[in-house]
């Protein structure tokens, strides 16, 4: 029971996590990219596209990643190069990419709604035989696929990059004080572009997890707000990759719980609100705590100086 819960949570949070870590990179580099939802959707489509025509899930994932990167590059082109407003372009790109997937689904596959086909090969899941027997940890290692594993690796990798590597420093400085970065010879434009590419790669993987990882099909609008939830996770995290992980798992848990709650015969409409209400409540909670923290710090600082 606990095992299945854990797996469900991991599975539900994996795409959000990948997306959030991607978002973290561009956020730290000083780019507000709210087009993750659309990027993920396009990647999900291209993943299925690649898998369908090649018969290989690996090619599928590669196509998804390429799509993610392309979407990011378009964003970069319009905002970084042509001076578009990030918020506007990000918002609009969500609509754009949503439309594009629908358009391609209909023009290429001549279907609408969903693409289900035997030709779409999903990412196989694996189980590490010895480990499943261990009571709690066993839950983490059954029936996972490479993308879920990558999601969790990506957080720790991001943590390592920001804490330890030169690339991390370059990204942080480009976001916080681009002037400072530029004057020590860092190419801020290049770093932002790179950060966006990383975002694209991770969103690509997230999309692939949606369409090839857990399912092997594409459905219009299948991201269902996950890109925005990832944004919220990054906002909560205030730059810490570990907090991104925490918040994402929390959302995964909320989504799983909301599925379970229906078993108790509550109206599905009420229960479907739960994940979104959770996001709102968490936002409120965090802001209130932050304000109180600030006040407390202020008062204690005052007392010290008084």
């Amino acid at each position: 029971m606990v095992n299945t819960w854990i797996i469900a949570i991991l599975r539900l949070s994996a795409p959000i996590l990948l997306c959030a870590v991607g978002s973290l990179f561009c956020d730290r580099a000083g780019v507000t990219n709210i087009s993750l939802e659309g990027t993920m959707l396009l990647a999900a489509f291209m993943g299925v596209f690649g898998s369908y025509y090649s018969g290989s899930w690996i090619i599928g994932i590669l196509c998804a990643v390429a799509a993610g990167v392309l979407a990011s590059l378009f964003f970069a082109l319009i905002t970084l190069k042509f001076g578009g407003a990030e918020l506007v372009v990000g918002f609009t790109m969500n609509v754009l990419l949503d439309g594009l997937t629908v358009f391609m689904l209909r023009s290429i596959f001549k279907v609408s709604g969903s693409l289900v086909s035997e030709k779409v090969i999903g990412v196989p899941s694996f189980t590490i035989p010895g480990l499943t027997k261990i009571p709690v940890i066993g839950g983490f290692v059954t029936d996972l696929n490479i993308l879920v594993v990558l999601a969790f690796i990506s957080v720790f990798l991001a943590h390592f990059i920001f804490k330890r590597t030169h690339l991390g420093l370059k990204v942080l400085s480009s976001g916080e004080n681009p002037q400072a970065a530029a004057t020590v010879g860092i190419n801020v434009y290049g770093i932002r572009l790179l950060a966006l590419v990383i975002t694209g790669v991770l969103c690509g993987l997230a999309g692939a997890q949606l369409s090839l990882g857990y399912l092997s099909m594409f459905t219009e609008g299948m991201t269902a707000g996950r890109g925005f939830i990832a944004l919220v996770a990054v906002m909560f995290a205030r730059g810490s990759s570990m907090r991104v992980l925490l918040v994402t798992l929390l959302f995964g848990a909320a989504e799983m719980m909301s599925n379970y709650l229906q078993l108790f015969q509550y109206s599905s409409y009420l229960i479907l609100m739960i994940p979104y209400l959770c996001v709102i409540l968490l936002t409120l909670l965090q802001l209130i705590l932050e304000q109180q923290g600030k006040k407390k710090r202020m008062i204690s600082a005052r007392e010290k100086t008084a």
Partner: protein, 332 residues
């Protein structure tokens, strides 16, 4: 279940004549019949039920030589707009699928008496409208009886797309049927919240199997695709009852039956009527007798003879009017 009388209260007040220039006027002679038909749906193609309707549509198109167009995934708010445009563009017959469209048909049809409408599942008043209704609870009652007997874990589930009236009938009948054949059997009821979210469908189905259900009666259209996926992954012992279309072959051995509705026939029949110049607006109610009932997967699994007998008996009872299944899912 109350059988609704065709209501006149809902009909729009306007009975203004149609824009004559647009609609080709022809009724009588088959030779100068307006042989153009439009297929309108809210759902996308790829939805099993809609595909079924569409199959009927294409069959008639080919057979009678209609000129065709399709409007899929019409969005809320676009319905009336679409119908008017189709009428103005001179389509002779419009096939509207699913109840979402009935209101719009009801408003547009009186304005274009020369255009004929057919609603596959739904109802609108008018001399130029054929409405068909499906009183599902009788058929799903039989399905429930079957599920109650086939379960090994004494726990089955109904997974609906959206909590609405129609699925109330589908689910209500099913629950009553299960209780009738197996009073000890538990029925879990879950809604995906969407007809088009396979991811969520898969998640919820996985949860239901996990809770010990061994049969899921899925009535969630595209979201149901996710149910098939998880059942396939989990393998034997995780069974499904399909809906509308005969889905018994989808995962051989695991789909133990389907609650089928011959939408294709209904659509075809209406189009045939039109093509033969015999179109007559009316409301048609259909139920078990008209073929909306359980189709057991006897081609793929061994169904014990007792079960087959019990299902036959339940069918007989229904046909005799001896049972009156609930048309809603009772909730706490």
């Amino acid at each position: 279940g109350e059988t609704p009388a065709p209501s006149s209260a809902d009909a729009p007040a306007s009975d203004a004549p149609a824009d004559e220039s647009a609609a080709p006027a022809d009724d009588a002679a088959a030779s100068d019949m307006n042989m153009s038909a439009a297929f309108v749906t809210v759902q996308p193609l790829g939805d099993p039920t809609i595909d079924l309707c569409y199959a009927g549509f294409t069959k008639a198109v080919e057979e009678f030589g209609f000129e065709k167009t399709t409007v899929v995934e019409a969005k809320a708010g676009e319905y009336e707009e679409n119908f008017r445009a189709l009428c103005e563009e001179g389509y002779g017959l419009i096939i509207a699928n699913m109840p979402e469209l009935q209101e719009a048909v009801g408003r547009v049809a009186p304005d274009y008496p020369d255009t004929k409408f057919m609603i596959a599942l739904g109802e609108a008043a008018g001399d130029n409208v054929i409405s068909t209704w499906n009183i599902e609870q009788y058929g799903t009652y039989i399905t429930g009886v079957y599920a109650g007997l086939m379960t090994k874990t004494n726990k089955v589930a109904f997974l609906g797309g959206v909590d609405n009236d129609q699925l109330g009938r589908v689910g209500g009948g099913f629950i009553d049927g299960v209780k009738a054949s197996n009073p000890d059997c538990e029925v879990e009821v879950l809604f995906v919240g969407s007809f088009t979210d396979p991811t969520k469908g898969k998640e919820m189905a996985s949860l239901l199997y996990n809770e010990g259900c061994d049969i899921i009666f899925q009535a969630c259209a595209q979201s149901g695709l996710g149910v098939f996926e998880i059942a396939k992954e989990l393998g034997e012992g995780h069974n499904i009852i399909g809906i509308d279309v005969d889905q018994n072959g989808n995962i051989p051995g695991q789909v133990i039956g389907s609650f089928v509705t011959p939408y294709d026939q209904w659509v075809y029949e209406a189009m045939k009527e039109y093509a033969e110049g015999k179109f007559e607006g009316r409301v048609i109610y259909r139920s078990v007798a008209e073929g909306t009932t359980l189709k057991m997967a006897t081609d793929y699994i061994d169904v014990p003879q007792e079960v087959i007998d019990a299902v036959d008996e339940a069918t007989q009872k229904v046909l005799n009017g001896e049972v009156e299944p609930s048309d809603t899912i009772k909730k706490a």
